[in-house]
């Protein structure tokens, strides 16, 4: 019999292990603030 595993469990097992200290890249936009934000 096929038992459907809980999503969380699948997600946990299938999640690609990320190296320790992985920092996601900053979103491409909006860009940096050069003076100050009103």
């Amino acid at each position: 019999s096929v038992a459907k595993r809980a999503v969380a469990e699948v997600a946990q097992h299938d999640k690609v292990p990320r190296p320790v200290g992985f920092v996601p890249p900053p979103p491409p936009c909006p860009g940096r603030i050069r003076h100050f934000k009103i």
Binding site: P28, C29, P30, G31, R32, I33, R34, H35, F36, K37, I38
Partner: protein, 249 residues
């Protein structure tokens, strides 16, 4: 396998900054009133490929007003951005550019500017002067008094008002009106103007001599007027002020 589409441009990528620089230069070069604006932030960029080496670029820019009047020959890089407590003015611009064979050109731009909210300023700086409407009677009286004061003391050309650029009012500890306005030299000396001011006309474009005045009028507790006018000298159209060759009235 078809080549993967290029990764979307980031707002801080060198290509985006180059496009923003062309856009800001275009905006300042085609503005005839007020102050020069500097780039504060690239809000968004979208690239629509049209063919080989042919892209349409849409930019959303966040600009800040500088202290340089639009007629000033000062290069934008040397223009100070007005600080938050000086009641900053922000410009939001949408610009459409063409990038053809690596060369950028502006196809269209639309901007609107707005001052920071008074509540924001007062929250941080309760006694900071706030922007005042340019047709406020105290503002008009201060500009008139300042220009008359300058013309009554100068040995140079008689100056006429071109436009009021900015005005602020402070209520504590003194009641003070601060104004900034653009002026132009006329074909009269200040002495000649005393006899027949109607004859004093702005110089033709090929001899134009624009300037900028700042003035502060304290009305309470004592009356005191401080005026400072500086003429830029005759200018030929440059990338910083290309529109001089067009009517600036």
């Amino acid at each position: 396998v078809p080549a993967a589409p290029p990764a979307p441009l980031g707002c801080d990528d060198p290509e985006s900054e180059a496009a923003a620089e062309v856009a800001v230069s275009y905006i300042n070069g085609h503005s005839h009133h007020g102050y020069k604006f500097a780039l504060n932030r690239i809000e968004n960029i979208r690239v629509l490929p049209q063919g080989p080496n042919n892209d349409i670029i849409f930019l959303e820019l966040d600009l800040l007003e500088t202290k340089c009047h639009i007629l000033s020959p000062t290069p934008l890089a040397n223009c100070t951005v007005r600080s938050f407590t000086e009641h900053a003015v922000e410009g939001d611009c949408d610009v459409k550019l063409l990038k053809l064979d690596g060369k950028l050109s502006v196809l269209a731009s639309k901007c609107h500017s707005h001052a920071d909210s008074s509540e924001d300023i007062l929250r941080l700086c309760p006694n900071c002067p706030l922007l005042e409407s340019l047709n406020n009677t105290d503002v008009l009286a201060t500009v008139t008094a300042a220009l008359n004061d300058h013309n009554s003391k100068t040995t140079d050309a008689y100056l006429r008002l071109l436009e009021i650029g900015r005005a602020r009012t402070q209520y504590h500890p003194t009641h003070t009106v601060s104004v900034e306005f653009a002026v132009a030299a006329t074909n009269c000396s200040a002495e000649e103007a005393k006899d027949n001011v109607e004859a004093c006309q702005l110089l033709p474009d090929d001899q134009s001599n624009f300037g900028f005045c700042t003035a502060t009028m304290v009305t309470r507790p004592i009356q005191d007027l401080q005026v400072d006018c500086q003429l830029y000298g005759h200018q030929v159209p440059t990338p910083d002020i290309p529109f001089l060759s067009q009517d600036t009235s």
